[in-house]
Symmetry: C2
Subunit: 281 residues, 2 copies
């Protein structure tokens, strides 16, 4: 059983992004810059934003903060997003989710100019993904693909089973795997015979957010298992995949250390690609 | 084995659309009007456009023609689309596909204002579909859902297998079935063990466009089989499903007479829903 470590893959992507940023600066003088929007004082969100900004800085991507206190209005947020949309010096927008309760996330995301969508969650980005067009791709699904490719796990023709159908992970990931010619099954809480579906998977993606749900008897011997479900428990972060799965799987991207470390790198790749498209590259 | 006839389902949808149009006119004075764009002289496209306009007329939806000769430029087409986008008296846009060779269909579709997209093929419509938001839905997939519902075929928890992954049919249909809580597998030309996948389907959608591809031994006894692959042969229109499948299936939407008759009704439903959304209903 081989552990699929995300860190080296993330470092490779970050090096590519850094080279892309340097090339863009040299060719066009443009310094790609990310607008970072954070609403409220959620400690986890504050940490994520700090990590993203630090990583951006390390690859030469600038960032500008747009911080709103808890209790700001939806209208204020939308006006700021529209202002960023219109500012040619800002190339990508990171809207840190979740927004405080009572705010309309969908409306806020849909207000972002599609060409500045760094998170890949705008309906236009998801529609381009479904239609097979080049677009920003949500970061966790993109990270899963990078990991599979980096470790040489065959996707074409593989039986891929995605458990969990969120808009952030399961659904876009199914489209990415399909575009790479996997046969893709989307499972969820209403799936009958979930164990049977999982047991035939060459690539099993666990993305439902139920700690330890995937047991050894649900995994085909030798399969690639990617754990992307996260549950916060008193004992720390738990994934969807039970520890015993290591005895059966051929490859395992665990929590922590698997796909998680990759997401920031892929956010930054979306940002630099947005700047490149804007510059006509 | 029960044949799933589309005509009575289409008539039911058309009656609902007609009632919706009448209610809209009464409440708001708005007469929903469809802009019908046809480029070139393809005889099949001319027939389709005539049928669509006649059906629109019968339910009280107006239509205005935008006819371009073969050899018109992409720029002319896009300018016309932008003009229709800006015209508040036009509520939906039907862009008859395919466009003549050499024209950029994707660009033309993406130029349509998303809120006037009657075909459901705009990237925003597909993204809203993926994201589970109310939106225009491509007509053939929407027709499949209507047929399943009309004949009382259970979708929730069913094992649905969609063979063929086009942007017009396979991919959006997979999203619709998923939203209705089916377990959905997307198969295609690179699928290994296609027969095995098909054989476990409670609902089997044949949408690859290979005449007679689905044989009796690929169908689970009692399954619902929807034939939506069309091939033009010297012997006439052929579906993807071989005639012998009737001996095995529990339900069959055949070609002709199954899903086909429904598509125009669902186009018109998209048009009236666009007019309703615009009127704030």
């Amino acid at each position: 059983m081989q552990i699929l470590h995300g860190r080296p893959v993330a470092d490779k992507v970050l090096a590519e992004v850094k080279a892309g940023v340097a090339a863009l600066k040299q060719k066009t003088g443009v310094e790609p810059t990310l607008a970072v929007i954070l609403v409220g004082e959620d400690p986890a969100s504050q940490i994520y934003v700090r990590l993203k900004k630090r990583a951006a800085d390390e690859v030469g991507i600038g960032s500008r903060d747009f911080l709103f206190p808890q209790g700001c209005t939806q209208v204020e947020l939308l006006e700021t997003i529209r202002g960023i949309n219109a500012d040619p010096a800002l190339h990508g927008i990171l809207l840190q989710l979740p927004l405080p309760k009572g705010m309309d996330e969908d409306q806020a995301v849909a207000t972002i100019a599609p060409e500045k969508d760094a998170d890949g969650l705008h309906p236009m980005s998801l529609g381009n993904l479904l239609g097979g067009k080049p677009t920003a791709i949500p970061c966790t699904p993109a990270g899963c693909l990078e990991i599979l490719d980096h470790y040489g796990i065959p996707i074409e023709g593989a039986d891929a089973v995605v458990v969990g159908r969120s808009r952030l992970v399961g659904k876009p990931l199914a489209q990415l795997l399909l575009a790479r010619h996997a046969t893709v099954t989307m499972c969820h809480t209403r799936t009958r015979d979930l164990v049977e579906h999982c047991r035939r998977a060459d690539i099993l993606i666990a993305a439902m957010g139920v700690a330890g749900f995937v047991k050894a008897d649900m995994v085909k011997p030798g399969a690639a298992v990617l754990d992307v479900g996260i549950t916060r428990t008193d004992a720390g972060l738990m994934g969807d995949v039970a520890p015993e799965v290591r005895e059966v799987a051929g490859w395992l991207a665990p929590i922590p250390g698997g796909v998680g470390p990759m997401t920031i790198a892929l956010l930054l790749r979306n940002a630099v690609e947005a700047a490149e498209r804007r510059a006509g590259i």
